[in-house]
Symmetry: C2
Subunit: 348 residues, 2 copies
DNA sequence: TTGTATGCGTTATCAT
DNA sequence: ATGATAACGCATACAA
């Protein structure tokens, strides 16, 4: 234990004191520091000097109260520890920083109260705008968003007709791309691991899987579909179940990458070679895909790009385009082929 | 493109309007809403009712300006995308939420200006306190912290004599534990992959490696030490270099887990069996350790616990204990043995 | 170009 | 127990 005393209660200088030291009025000092052109060069210098001398730092609360803007936005995601949202946050962060905004990151842990509280942040004027990424967008949440009185952008599917800016990805098509990719590699018996029942991303992925099988003319059977929960352990459990039910399967498509990694672990334990005996593909394309062995093929849903787009839409709203009609932007998914679906013989 | 019009400019009610509707003065309304005991029960109810009717939400800027506190703290880390800091953020977030504080997460990308700007956030009164995690704590940064005039806690090593709260971990001992773990498994020729030169975590890990080899009486040689940069690719490069120089090595200790994963990938490509031919251990114990095959042994540096401790120290400061001497808390590292160092024959 | 003065919405103090 | 009112620190509209 150190025993240095902490110096607290450092007197902070106000702009009034800066003005006094510079020998001008507060009004002038304010204009000078905020870079107004209608202030004499010499005065600006004097004021700046005084500000430095007094180590003046503007009070953020006072400034936002007066200016009615905080220069910051919020990103609300289900779980900051999830690699998908980490990537999204990175992208949003980037754009926000470029345009001079501070990003406030909120993790809701899928608790609805946390989400509504975050939306209230807009009413509290804690942030100027908000990007929301929710696993279950309820009607009441949409109403809260519409009535928030500040720009909002939702990432993910939204109930039809909601007057809210929206960035989405066609994950159903993404799922069908995965199936087609596997089929193109010669795989015939393609199993599927579902996402958490009831969540927004879950249904379209299942739908895309089924649709693609039908279109291609491959076997579609409930015994090839296993329940999942978007976790690695859930992927393990699903794999065990599938291998039990359908030992003849030669490919597995998982609703997300984490479950695909779990599936690959089970296959490894069971001495099933990937991709020779069983090919595996996930969805989301998280960095961890390249960590595992073999590297995991995946369907990219462009989280980074979606984050960037959402941030740009939001910040555009904040710089004046506030009263245009709500926009919906859709990004396209694409397959990232790696070792877990590499045709036998082909090597990187 | 949807064409719903966005409703902006929603008139927000002020406490003055709430007071008017409830038929009381603003002062009373404020006391009533903030739960003062010196207000008649009936009045409280009337005011609450009015607040609900008008959808009143207190203005955060005004409140912080008046109260001189924002009820929020900041966590400043080098990179929010790094799993280590994700875990740290999770822990801090948790504690902050429990104690009614909002957490503002700042990623500096190792840019010094970003760090100092974040520290300025204290002077701007944007946050009430700050937890700083930096890869290079310079003297000038320490001075900025000491003069910030608000509670600060640094996670990581700090120049001696700094009057700042501090949570650290003895990573040198952690490194030596890793080496001893490998030696205990019968490994004799233990290589080391360094961290990025010049960063704070780098030196003690190397020192611990060397010290342990010496204490145990194993070979210590520069040819067993490879440069690294804390990335997966860096780990790959180091592994290639080490295998070239010392094909006889039977174990590798890496300065972090990401590099260890890279090393394992190279070993897999070279058909070296892990752990039978070459054992591998990393450091940090990130969740990804359990994703790879075989699962990666690691030295836990208790990032979660460190985050929790730092948050608690900071929040304690904020609730009155501001003027006690600076504290230093050190947590102990420990080995998490997994498959990559499992003695041959032993299975989970 | 600069000074003066008012108000942002809230909380806290001091009377009543 | 409640009402009136003065700050908090800054930015701006208007006057000079």
């Amino acid at each position: 234990l150190s025993s240095q005393t902490l110096s607290r209660n450092v007197r902070r200088a106000t702009i009034t004191e800066v003005a006094r030291l510079a020998g001008v009025s507060v009004g002038t000092a304010s204009l000078a520091l905020n870079g107004s052109s209608r202030v004499a060069e010499a005065t600006v210098l004097r004021v700046r000097e005084a500000a430095v001398a007094l180590a003046y730092v503007p009070d953020h609360a006072a400034s936002s109260l007066r200016r009615r803007s905080t220069e910051s936005i919020a990103l609300v995601v289900p779980d900051v520890a999830n690699p998908v949202y980490v990537a999204m946050a990175k992208a949003v962060q980037q754009v926000a920083k470029e345009r001079g905004y501070h990003l406030s990151l909120v993790s809701t842990d899928n608790v609805v109260e946390e989400e509504t509280h975050a939306v209230q942040g807009l009413a509290r004027r804690q942030v100027d705008g908000l990007i929301l990424c929710s696993l279950r967008v309820t009607e009441s949440l949409v109403q809260a968003l519409e009535g928030a009185g500040a720009p909002v952008c939702v990432i993910g599917r939204l109930p039809g007709g909601a007057a809210v800016d929206n960035v989405r990805v066609d994950s159903e098509t993404g799922a069908s791309l995965a199936v087609r990719h596997l089929a193109g590699g010669g795989h015939q018996t393609i199993a599927f691991v579902k996402g958490t029942a009831g969540t927004a991303p879950s249904a379209p992925r299942l739908a895309g899987y089924r649709r693609a099988l039908q279109e291609i003319g491959l076997e579609s059977d409930p015994s090839l579909e296993a329940a999942g929960d978007f976790t690695l352990e859930g992927g393990r459990a699903a794999a065990l179940e599938l291998l039990e039910r359908r030992p003849d399967l030669d490919a597995v498509f998982c609703s997300n990458d984490l479950m695909a990694i779990g599936v690959m672990k089970v296959l490894h334990e069971r001495r099933k070679r990937v991709p020779e005996e069983v090919a595996v593909i996930g969805m989301d394309d998280i960095p961890e895909c390249t960590y595992c062995t073999p590297t995991l093929s995946s369907v990219s849903l462009s989280v980074g790009q979606r984050g960037r787009l959402a941030a740009e839409m939001l910040l555009d709203r904040l710089s004046g385009l506030a009263d245009l009609p709500a926009q919906v932007v859709t990004v396209a998914p694409y397959v990232v082929a790696r070792e877990s679906t590499r045709p036998a013989g082909a090597h990187a």
